[in-house]
């Protein structure tokens, strides 16, 4: 059966979307709370989401909740936290097999829906506070996550480049927050943040899968509709979460040094265009495929790196080039990356390259139909962009992108930030051996 798509907003501040295809054997529900990004609250919401995903009044300990999840045929249940433009998303995802696969015909999708509702709406609170041990554990986890950001050099370089690119703008912040704020968190802060999240967030609830979980969907819709009616939501009726970052008049060049084997390069371009599909085509031609300009020239011809790729952000007007090169080759790589863009802007790509890229792009878009999680992610991404385009509709739009639109998109790219996370002279850290 082909994809079925539904969308409804029964109360202000609450939206339901449903995508279903009967070939899927699983059913997923994702509840997302969307709030403005800020320095303090997203961090607290992150902490709260951890607490809510590990217990509830019915299962007040993580062990008990884990047993229940195992009983529900190893359902996947967890929290999610990330930012989109100027917004923070705090959410919960629950996936189970469809009821028809259970041993005794159990209504596993309905039971998982009840568990999800309990965790979000009936938390394990005593005198208005979370269990103190659970709170301390969640706080310790958060502090560790903040401290370990620098562990992965590559992701740290990307994060650092993001901070530099958006310095002074809300997008500079991430949902982890600062170590100082995390260390100062109290159980009272968490309890207040929980209340605040439920009272003030825009709520998006997505159902995705085979569509056999009728009772589960009905239950979640009723409970959340009643809940949303009981609060007086005064926030924004979110219809588009994309953001435009200011375009710098002069690019910034920042170098930081680290004891590592390889330098990481992050080059950020901004654009003022609105032609989403032409920009994505341009990025794919530039560095988004194994036959792109960056792959063929920076990697294959000059042998400077293992990876050199470009991608367009879905929520803010940036194109990011990302590579890892040997110490001493940083400038050579930067020069070639910039030169390849200039060549493209001057029209140095063939019709075959354009058509091959289009084919590659369409194939990636079409594949969303065959992965339940991708389908869910697709429609949430479209929601953040203010439309509900299906992959098939997007495919038609990609087909219409011509050379002129790609050139126009390329010409709108302006160099914003070059961040070199340079390998220090001593290079690879050495091993030590000790007795226990």
């Amino acid at each position: 059966m082909a994809l079925k798509l539904g969308k409804e907003s029964p109360v202000n501040g609450l939206i339901f979307t449903n995508t279903q295809d009967d070939k899927f054997r699983t059913e997923t529900v994702i509840v997302r709370f969307i709030t403005p990004i800020g320095r303090v609250m997203p961090q607290r919401y992150r902490l709260v989401s951890k607490l809510l995903s590990e217990s509830c009044a019915r299962f007040p300990e993580k062990k008990l909740l884990s047993k229940e999840i195992m009983r529900l045929y190893g359902a996947q249940f967890g929290a999610l936290n990330y930012s989109v433009g100027n917004y923070a998303v705090t959410g919960f995802s629950a996936t189970s097999i469809a009821d028809r696969f259970t041993f005794g015909g159990e209504k596993v999708t309905l039971e998982l829906a009840r568990l999800l509702l309990d965790c979000i709406l009936e938390p394990n609170l005593t005198d208005g506070l979370f269990d103190q041990t659970s709170f301390e554990n969640a706080k310790h986890d958060l502090i560790t996550m903040i401290r370990k950001q620098k562990n992965n050099r590559h992701s740290y370089a990307l994060e650092r480049a993001r901070q530099l690119t958006f310095a002074g703008e809300p997008m500079e912040l991430n949902t982890l927050g600062t170590l100082e704020d995390a260390e100062a968190l109290t159980n009272e802060c968490a309890a207040e943040a929980y209340k605040n999240l439920l009272d003030t967030a825009f709520i998006s609830i997505s159902f995705c899968g085979g569509g056999t979980n009728t009772e589960a969907r009905q239950l979640i819709k009723e409970r959340f509709t009643d809940f949303a009616k009981s609060r007086s939501y005064t926030g924004e009726n979110i219809e588009n979460m994309t953001t435009l970052s200011k375009i710098r008049t002069e690019p910034q060049f920042v170098t930081e040094t680290e004891s590592q084997s390889q330098s990481k390069l992050i080059i950020v371009y901004k654009f003022d265009g609105e032609d989403e599909f032409a920009l994505r085509m341009a990025s794919l031609i530039y560095g988004g495929t194994p036959f792109s300009k960056l792959f063929v020239n920076v990697r294959e011809k000059l042998s400077l790196c293992y990876y050199c790729q470009s991608s367009v952000s879905g929520d803010v007007n940036t194109l990011v080039v990302d590579s890892g090169v040997g110490r001493g080759n940083e400038q050579k790589a930067i020069d070639e990356i910039k030169r390849q863009l200039e060549l493209l802007k001057n029209g140095d790509f063939t019709d075959d390259e354009l058509e091959n890229t289009r084919r590659y792009y369409i194939s990636a878009v079409r594949s969303a139909y065959d992965f339940s999680a991708d389908m869910n992610a697709w429609f949430f991404r479209r929601f953040t962009r203010g439309d509900m385009l299906t992959p098939a509709e997007a495919e038609e739009m990609i087909k219409e992108v011509d050379r002129g639109r790609v050139l126009k998109a390329l010409s709108s790219l302006v160099l914003d930030t070059v961040f070199v996370y340079e390998a220090s002279e001593n290079g690879t850290p050495e091993n030590e051996e000790e007795e226990v």
Partner: protein, 425 residues
């Protein structure tokens, strides 16, 4: 030449099935058409990985040793044909091609939503057509050197590799898959051809596909493109690995914000069905010992010795088998002690029977979920094939596992004498 023969593999519980075709060329095809899907995933794989660095065929008088990292290097170089780059060929069909080299296998793959048969032709053709020259082999050194360095900068990979070196003193699994910058500098076109003709024999390879295609059309293309290989009587030599670990503790300084650790327990190696059974027992055992339902998890979390959970897995292959734990901690040695104490507790009181039964149910749920995903199916068929079983065998073996077997495996395998700890700070 033998005849092409097909057999159907059925999952009795879910009714799913796939077809195994023993192709006349010597290649086995594992084919799983999936109704309603646009997406297709295909893998062409050889039973040759980084650990196969000492071998003999009819072409050699004695065993030959080849430089570390050559299987991975070969994988990179196969993408370059005499007349063009393979990615350029895939570009014309819209397929997304890639490859990966592991300790035991090398796999070439593509995914697509159209032109599957044209892409399959590309895959079968380029893997059977090596083209190595001094110039193109030399060119790859810079790229692979950066891949090696990229891995060295990932603390989790570094910690794991150091753990393998601490556990194994002779087995080549202690050597990184990509080799070192020094070892890859020794690779020549002649050595690449030697490895290619030894291991890229259709009798030593397998093709798997899942998604949107017809079995008969795949067989037709195989009839046309597969070149039968003569049996060169390939022999592989692996060094004798002592039962003892090489080093109990290794530490690496990387200037991390939060130290990470890997703790390994070196176990005797198994093969065939016995390996699958042991894997199933330790799979349950690790979950019961360290999963979120366990007292060990609660103790480590409540005392803030770990954050974000304790990772655990088994690591098996030809001549190696280990149980691994990993995570982030300021006190990895205490985490190791707590693991040993938890096993002492299992020796005294055993595991919780109710939790064991719940895990079996959860494992069935996982198997059903995987059947939703063509890539997971392609990969699942391939892994099972290399284990000498079918994709649905895992479910059958898991059903037969007993709590007594699980307890015996954990009690036997986890002990101080075979424990190694790797810490990256």
């Amino acid at each position: 030449m033998r005849e092409t023969v097909s057999e159907k593999i059925v999952n009795e519980r879910t009714g799913d099935s796939y077809t195994v075709v023993h192709h006349k060329s010597g290649l086995d095809l594992l084919l799983y058409p999936m109704e309603g899907y646009k997406f297709t995933s295909a893998m062409f794989s050889t039973d040759y990985g980084s650990i196969n660095n000492c071998f003999k065929t009819d072409d050699e008088e004695d065993f030959v040793n080849v430089p570390d990292g050559i299987a991975h290097y070969l994988e990179h170089k196969l993408f370059e044909n005499e007349d063009c780059d393979v990615f350029a060929l895939y570009a014309a069909t819209g397929a997304d091609g890639n490859a990966m080299t592991g300790y035991e296998n090398t796999t070439y793959l593509f995914t697509c939503t159209e032109n599957f048969y044209e892409s399959l032709r590309i895959l079968l053709s380029f893997v059977q057509k090596p083209y190595f020259t001094e110039e193109n082999v030399q060119k790859e050194q810079g790229i692979i050197a950066q891949e090696i360095r990229m891995t060295l900068d990932i603390p989790r990979c570094r910690c794991f590799h150091e753990l393998l070196r601490a556990m194994y003193s002779a087995h080549p699994v202690r050597i990184d898959i990509g080799g070192t910058e020094e070892s890859i500098a020794q690779i020549t076109p002649e050595l690449l051809y030697k490895c290619y003709y030894a291991f890229y024999d259709l009798n030593n390879m397998v093709l798997t596909a899942a998604g949107n295609f017809e079995i008969d059309k795949v067989i037709e293309i195989c009839d046309e493109l597969l070149k039968s290989c003569e049996d060169k009587h390939l022999e592989i030599r692996l060094p004798e690995e002592p039962a003892e670990i090489a080093e109990p503790f290794v530490k690496t300084e990387m200037g991390l914000g939060m130290p990470i650790f890997s703790i390994g327990f070196k176990c005797p190696a198994y093969s065939g069905m016995e390996r699958l059974e042991k894997e199933a027992e330790v799979y349950f055992g690790l979950e019961l010992l360290a999963g979120t339902m366990s007292p060990l998890y609660k103790r480590l979390t409540d005392e803030h010795l770990i954050a974000g959970g304790l990772g655990y897995q088994f690591f098996t292959g030809k001549g190696y088998f280990a149980l691994l734990f990993e995570g982030e901690s300021e006190q990895p040695e205490r985490v190791a002690e707590y693991i040993l104490e938890a096993v002492d507790e299992v020796r005294k009181n055993g595991f919780d029977r109710e939790e064991f039964e719940l895990m079996k149910r959860a494992e069935f749920g996982d198997l059903v979920k995987r059947l939703d995903n063509p890539e997971a199916c392609t990969d699942g068929m391939l892994s099972a094939y290399y284990n000498g079983v079918d994709m649905f065998a895992e479910g059958r073996v898991l059903e037969k596992v007993t709590i007594e077997g699980v307890e015996a495996a954990i009690n036997r395998f986890i002990c101080r004498e075979n424990m190694a700890v790797s810490v990256v700070k």
